[in-house]
């Protein structure tokens, strides 16, 4: 359980990272928090000749707000995002998702960009990014490329990232819709903080009459990548998000997810679980939005 030998460099700038990845000719890997990469190295599932450490690169850590998005430097620690007031106020869905990511020891080291780059289909940060329609800013010696979340994930541990590219920033949209926003994040795992068998992320906005004006629903762990179920979310818009509306949305989720069976759960179980968690997450989001609007919360 020891990694094979490799060379190590601590990069001092974004340009230096690009240059080193170019020089390594597809045999270099970026290391940030290392919470996924180090086990893979220890198990010798990956054997890069060179590790490029980006932990000391200026400009890759920190959280910045614009009018309609939060921009997280790829090397921002998950624990820092979890404690961030900006995230708490503007991206409560990410905050909720982060509490399910690994354990306190791994969140102290693990990064936002690292989780997304490794693209585990059950990972929470990527699910939140995809649900909100965010994007990944990748960097190579050719400059920045903005890749929408919908296009970034290709399969389990597979993304559009090329060997000479790394993630510079992750962008999470902040909704500007009049009304009260609510979020819900639900997950089932054998033990809390274990890999999710399935998870559901929901964000919605209710207007003063309790009508849903905008909604997004994402499901993790129930397909080769996290998936956004737009048909289910669109079905909620214009409704009061009654129990019947929630059941209809959950039915759409059940139809649309495409899970596989493995040692931990069968495909049928995951499919039902995804629908159940989606319904719970919608109820959680609805209750939160109604509380903010102090409207009637008869069903929550």
């Amino acid at each position: 359980m020891k990694a094979v030998d490799f060379d190590y460099v601590r990069a001092g700038s974004v340009d230096e990272v690009c240059r080193m990845l170019d020089d390594a000719a597809e045999d270099g890997k970026v290391i940030a928090g290392g919470q996924t990469l180090v086990p893979l190295l220890a198990m010798r599932l990956t054997r890069p000749a060179l590790l490029v450490d980006i932990n000391a690169v200026p400009g890759l850590q920190g959280i910045e707000g614009t009018t309609d998005a939060l921009l997280l430097g790829s090397c921002t620690r998950q624990a820092e995002a979890e404690r961030s007031e900006l995230v708490c106020l503007q991206l409560p869905l990410l905050r909720k998702g982060l509490s399910f990511v690994g354990h306190v020891q791994t969140r102290n080291r693990g990064t936002i960009g690292g989780s997304i780059a490794n693209a585990d289909p059950s990972a929470e940060i990527g699910l939140v990014m995809l649900t909100l329609g965010g994007s990944v800013v990748t960097r190579s010696s050719d400059g920045d490329t903005i890749v929408p979340a919908d296009e970034f994930f290709l399969g389990p541990m597979i993304t559009t990232l090329m060997p000479n590219e790394f993630i510079r920033q992750v962008q999470f949209p902040v909704w500007q819709v009049e009304g009260w926003q609510g979020t819900g994040f639900q997950e089932t795992s054998p033990r809390r903080s274990d890999f999710a068998l399935a998870s559901a992320a929901v964000q919605l906005v209710l207007d003063k009459d309790g009508i849903c004006r905008r909604a997004a629903i994402g499901i993790g762990g129930a397909a080769a990548t996290p998936v956004r179920i737009d048909a289910a979310a669109e079905g909620l818009v214009g409704t009061t998000v009654s129990e019947a509306d929630i059941t209809a949305a959950a039915d759409v989720v059940r139809e649309m997810v495409d899970p596989e069976s493995d040692l931990h759960a069968s495909a049928d179980y995951r499919r039902r679980l995804a629908a159940t968690l989606a319904a719970r997450a919608i109820r959680e989001a609805r209750a939160e939005a109604r509380r903010k609007g102090e409207g009637p919360d008869v069903e929550a």
Binding site: M1, K2, A3, V4, D5, F6, D7, Y8, R10, I31, G34, Q35, V38, P39, L41, A42, M43, L51, D53, N55, A79, G102, H103, V104, Q105, T106, N108, R109, R191, R192, S193
Partner: protein
């Protein structure tokens, strides 16, 4: 192969070593610096036995390379007792509440609990469970560990109260 000079402060003492890039922090602590209090269990970030404080925050020392810890401040289980070897309030509570049996997970449990108590003086049981959720124990069934952390929290608050009087 690349070799690197690293300087780390371990339990207040600056230490230097020359390490291969692939050497993990826990191997540096145990095999080079001979601080064998930190245990190494799974070597791939599952068991939590190797938990140390890295610049004040608990991390898994098998999940980072020693070279990455250059200039860092590390506290291991050896750093909990005072210079003359008196157990800390937390260690004493583990002894008192039978918070260990075989002792393999104990260094990691102690450091995880230490980090919790430094941040939250009187944690709820829920917070205690969350704080040690990344640490596996195969003997105790966890209940006595939770009791020990609760006891340590009560003892430290009692001490503070005594001190205030």
């Amino acid at each position: 192969m690349s070799k690197h000079e690293v300087t780390v402060t371990v339990n207040g003492r600056p230490q230097q070593a020359c390490v291969e890039a692939r050497m993990t922090l826990v191997d540096l602590l145990r095999d080079v610096l001979r601080q064998t209090g930190t245990h190494v269990g799974c070597e791939h970030g599952v068991c939590g036995a190797c938990t140390v404080l890295f610049n004040g925050r608990p991390i898994r020392s098998c999940l980072m390379f020693a070279v990455q810890a250059d200039a860092a401040d590390i506290v291991t289980v050896e750093g909990l007792a005072d210079a003359s070897g008196n157990l800390s309030v937390l260690q004493d509570a583990f002894w008192e509440a039978h918070g260990l049996q075989c002792g393999y997970c104990t260094p990691g449990m102690l450091i995880a609990a230490q980090a919790l108590l430094e941040e939250t003086v009187t944690p709820t049981d829920e917070e205690i469970r969350e704080a040690i959720s990344g640490n596996l124990c195969r003997c105790t069934g966890y209940q006595q560990i939770i009791e020990a952390i609760r006891l340590a929290s009560r003892s430290s608050t009692a001490q503070v109260a005594d001190h205030d009087e």
